[in-house]
Symmetry: C2
Subunit: 309 residues, 2 copies
C-alpha cells in the first residue's frame, strides 16, 4: 500500500476513507482534519482560551498536541483521581502528562481530588454507595463537575475533551438501545455554553480510536497504555466491541452511525426541547445546571460523604 500523497510506503491505511498515508503525511493529515472539524462545528476560534482535559492517554495528549500545533491557545487540566489498581495508574498518568507539558512548555493545571475533597475516587465511590460497586459512575460525575468548575473559575471559554469516534459511537449506541431522548438531543461535537458552564467540544470525535493511537505513536507522544483498571467489563467497552464487529464486516459503519445521527438531528429528525422542558436549573450549592430538584448529583454525593466522615 502506498501513500496517496507521495507514493512512499504507507504507514496507516484507513479503509473507511479509502486513504493510505505515510507517517509524515499522516502527521499532517490529522491536524488538517481536526482543523476542518473545528471549523465545521464552530468549536472555537484562535481568540478563545481553551482548556484541554488531559488524562495522560493517547487521545487527550494528542488533542493537546494537535491544538498547539494548530496555534490555538490551549492549556491543560489534569485531574488526579487517586486510582492505583496495582499499576500506579493515576501516578503514572500524571507523570506522563507533566512530562508532555514540560517538554512542550505548556501550562498545565493539576487538581487533586483527594486534596480537594478529602478522598480519592475509589473511596468517594465506597462511601457514597453509587454505581453498583464500581467507581466509574462517581468518577464520571466528579470529572464532569470538576472540569466544568475549573473551566468557569479560571475563565476559559471552551473545555475540550479527547473523545474519539469509538467513544462517541459507543455512547450513542448505548443511548439508542434504550432511546434516551435527552441524551439523543444533546450528544454531539459541541455542547453550547449555558448558565455559567463553558462550551464543551470534542475535536477528535470523527477519528477512530486506532487513528489516534497511530497519531500518538507516530508523533512519539509518551502516553499511558493501560486502560483504567476499573474499566474492564464496562458497558461502554462491550458496546465498542459490538461496534468493532460491525465495522469489520462493514467498514465505515461506525462513522456512518455517528455522522448520519448528527445530520438527521440537524435536519429536524428530533423534536427539540427547551432547557425548561428538560427541567434544568442551577444547583443551589455550586450553581452548575442540573435536573435534580435542589442540589446537583455531585453536591448531593459530597454532602453524603461529609456526613459519613
Amino acid at each position: 500500500m502506498k501513500c496517496r500523497k507521495c507514493g512512499a510506503k504507507a504507514s496507516v491505511n484507513m479503509r473507511q476513507h479509502k486513504l493510505a498515508l505515510c507517517k509524515e503525511h499522516y502527521l499532517e493529515w490529522v491536524p488538517e482534519q481536526t482543523e476542518r472539524f473545528i471549523k465545521k462545528y464552530n468549536m472555537f476560534t484562535r481568540d478563545e482560551k481553551i482548556l484541554v482535559a488531559v488524562s495522560g492517554g493517547k487521545d487527550s495528549l494528542s488533542l493537546w498536541d494537535i491544538l498547539v500545533r494548530l496555534d490555538y491557545r490551549a492549556d491543560g487540566l489534569y485531574l488526579g483521581l487517586g486510582i492505583d489498581g496495582g499499576i500506579g495508574y493515576s501516578h503514572e498518568s500524571q507523570r506522563l502528562t507533566e512530562k508532555f507539558a514540560a517538554q512542550n512548555h505548556l501550562k498545565l493545571h493539576i487538581v487533586d481530588i483527594e486534596k480537594e475533597y478529602g478522598q480519592p475516587i475509589p473511596l468517594l465511590s465506597d462511601i457514597s454507595h453509587r454505581g453498583h460497586g464500581k467507581p466509574c459512575a462517581v468518577c464520571g460525575l466528579t470529572k464532569r463537575h470538576e472540569m466544568n468548575r475549573i473551566a468557569r473559575d479560571l475563565g476559559y471559554d471552551v473545555l475540550a475533551t479527547g473523545h474519539n469516534l469509538d467513544d462517541e459511537a459507543s455512547v450513542l449506541f448505548g443511548n439508542t438501545l434504550v432511546w434516551e431522548g435527552d441524551f439523543l438531543l444533546r450528544q454531539g461535537p459541541v455542547l453550547p455554553a449555558a448558565d455559567g458552564l463553558s462550551r464543551k467540544v470534542k475535536p477528535l470525535c470523527r477519528f477512530y480510536e486506532r487513528e489516534m493511537a497511530a497519531y500518538a505513536i507516530a508523533r512519539g507522544i509518551e502516553y499511558i497504555y493501560e486502560e483504567c483498571p476499573f474499566a474492564a467489563g464496562s458497558t461502554s467497552i462491550y458496546y465498542k466491541e459490538l461496534l468493532n464487529q460491525l465495522e469489520t464486516t462493514r467498514p465505515g459503519a461506525k462513522l456512518t452511525f455517528y455522522l448520519r445521527f448528527l445530520e438527521a438531528r440537524k435536519n429536524g429528525l428530533f423534536q427539540e426541547r427547551e432547557n425548561r422542558e428538560l427541567n434544568l436549573h442551577p444547583c443551589s450549592n455550586c450553581g452548575q445546571l442540573t435536573s435534580a430538584p435542589d442540589l446537583c448529583s455531585f453536591c448531593r454525593m459530597m454532602e453524603k460523604v461529609r456526613l459519613a466522615e
Copy 2:
C-alpha cells in the same frame, strides 16, 4: 423450572419476562398476550375483515391460528413466489399452508406471481437487475405490492403479517444504524390505512422468534423449517445475530430496544411529518402510495420486465 400457573414442569422459560410456563399454559398465554397487543395498539376489532399474509412459516401460520382461536374474522393470503432453491421451497410452503387452511376450515386466497406477472420472483429479479444479484429486494417489493393490492381489491379492512420481535428489532436496528428518518417515523405495530391502502398490523411484534417457534411446535402446527434459500447472508440475519449476542449478555435488551423506541416516539422524540412532506402520492398506474415521481417502484419494475420480454 416450574410453571408459574400450575406448578407442573415448565416447557418454556422466558428470561426477559422472568416467566416459565408448562405447555398447556403457554398455549393459553400466547393468545392472551396477542389479544392484549391487539387492544393496546388498536389493531382491529371483531367486526373487521382481516387478511393474514401466510408464508407457511411458523410465525404467519401461528398468527392465523391465534387470530382464529381469538374469534377474529381472519382469512389467509398465500403468495406463490416460485422459489425452488433445490428444496422445492415455494412448493412445500404452499402445501403446508393449504393443509393448515383445510384442517382448520379456513378461507385461503392463493396468488401465483408467475401466473399473474409471467415470471417467478428469481426471474423477475434477473430481468429487472434490482438488488445486487439477490432476489430479496424484488421479492420484498413484490410481496408488499401484492398484499396491498389484494387486501384492497378483496375489501379487507386490515392486512396482518407475522413479523415477530426479532424481525422488528432487526429492521429497527438497520434503520437506526443509518438514521433513516422516514422509516423511524413509520415503523411500528400499526401502519394506518391511507389512500386506498388497508391498515397494516403486526400482532406478534412483541414475541421473540423462539417464542413463536415454541408456540407453533406446542400447537402441533406443521410449518416449513427451512429459511428461504436466498436469505443466507442477508443483512437482516446479520443484525439478528448481533442483537442475539446483545440479548445473551443482557436478557430483554431486544424487547427494550423496540418498546422504548415506540414509547419515545409516542412521547414526541421525533418531529412528525405529513405525507406531503414525505412526498407520498398515488402511483399513476396502480394507485398505491409511492415516493417515486410517477410510477411506483413495483410498476416501474414490471414495465422494465415487459419491455425485456
